[in-house]
Symmetry: C2
DNA sequence: TAGATTGTTAATCGATTAACAATC
DNA sequence: TAGATTGTTAATCGATTAACAATC
């Protein structure tokens, strides 16, 4: 759904008012049936003979994804990665706003990055309530992830985006997405060697 | 496979010499059949009655993934995100080493981050050859991604890890993995609202 | 030998695709 | 009306699971 949204925003931005399932499918490397099925799962959004109205569909998908409003986000961990994520402008466009940043390191607490002053983790719970924060971005070292997770859950957060290369143990009420950059690079390396091996086979065999 | 590797490294680190498919499955939330099938696809790595020898399996998976050696990596784009990726220590452990960093901004070229001096993109092709670089991490703004991609492909890179929120148009010989942080956050938000909606339904209905 | 556990085959399940009546 | 395109049903395909002979 997120990928459809991204593509529809580009189509809409280029001035096209509607798009057919077959055109959208081609752009994303899918089948038209697949596209129609995906949308139909959430309701009847299309117009037979016409296609899908881009702006209307964008609204619908936003509403489905819950990004038709701005989500306040807490950043946990303000080391290198955390600072970069603060500087990353991609979040704001898509309905997310990092409204508070936390750490435990005395040399980071109190410093200001991108206009946000780093607070101590002890202030997390009260800030979550005060700013109605539901999502946390966890950007601490692997060794600190388990403890930070406990504090995040205790503070009442509903979803965690985890950059630490460890498996988090969460209650089922809390959602998570894991972003493990090393694993992504491994997938890439595997894909590269798989292609090399395929080439070697077709040359030799 | 990467997830198996990560888990096996933890098991091995805790001193266990072997592990059964059922134990490994439980730890990862899979079925034992699934685990055995995944391994069997690449060969016969297990011992009936015993299980899998952790260290041996780790070696095999590394060899399958191609991470039984160190991959030199080029970083393209040294803004906030690029600098954070340079500082990120997770890559080195898993067989990747960022050996060169590139940008086009005059205020970045020549500066040094984490011991690497930023070079101009014009030097990419020769550096790729000299350092036998096969992978590139693309951390430039969306608007600059298409042009940078062309230069990367022209330089002879085999795989691109793309942090820009755009669909790259690549020849089939070049692999890619896309890491779109806004999309990941959207998935998280969707998961949170889906749970809220499920709760609302069960309370009301 | 008895117990444990594999690799693999057959059965099940779900997801993708193709086809088409309904609709603009 | 004719052409285009949807939502949905039926057919196909692939992936997951269960079962079990083979093996340590």
């Amino acid at each position: 759904m997120s990928l459809y949204l991204r593509e529809l925003q580009m189509v809409s931005g280029s001035g096209k008012p509607t798009i057919s399932s077959s055109t959208l499918a081609r752009r994303l490397g899918l089948t038209a049936s697949q596209v129609r099925k995906d949308f139909a799962y959430f309701g009847q959004f299309g117009y037979p003979g016409i296609g899908y109205r881009c702006d209307e569909l964008i609204q619908k998908i936003r509403s489905i994804l819950g990004t038709d409003r701005v989500w306040p986000v807490a950043l946990i961990g303000c080391g290198n990665l955390g600072q970069a994520l603060l500087g990353y402008r991609g979040f704001g466009n898509q309905g997310f706003s990092v409204v508070a940043a936390f750490d435990k390191q005395p040399n980071l607490v109190g410093r200001t990055f991108e206009g946000l002053t780093v607070r101590h983790m002890d202030e997390l719970a009260e800030t979550v309530v005060a700013s109605k924060i539901e999502l946390a971005v966890l950007a601490v070292p692997a060794a600190a992830a388990a403890e930070a997770t406990q504090e995040i859950v205790a503070a009442g957060i509903s979803g965690i985006m985890n950059f630490a290369p460890v498996t988090l143990n969460l209650p089922p009420s809390v959602s998570q997405v894991g972003v493990d950059l090393a694993i992504e690079l491994e997938q890439l390396a595997f894909s590269v060697v798989a292609k090399q091996r395929a080439r070697d086979r077709s040359e030799k065999g």
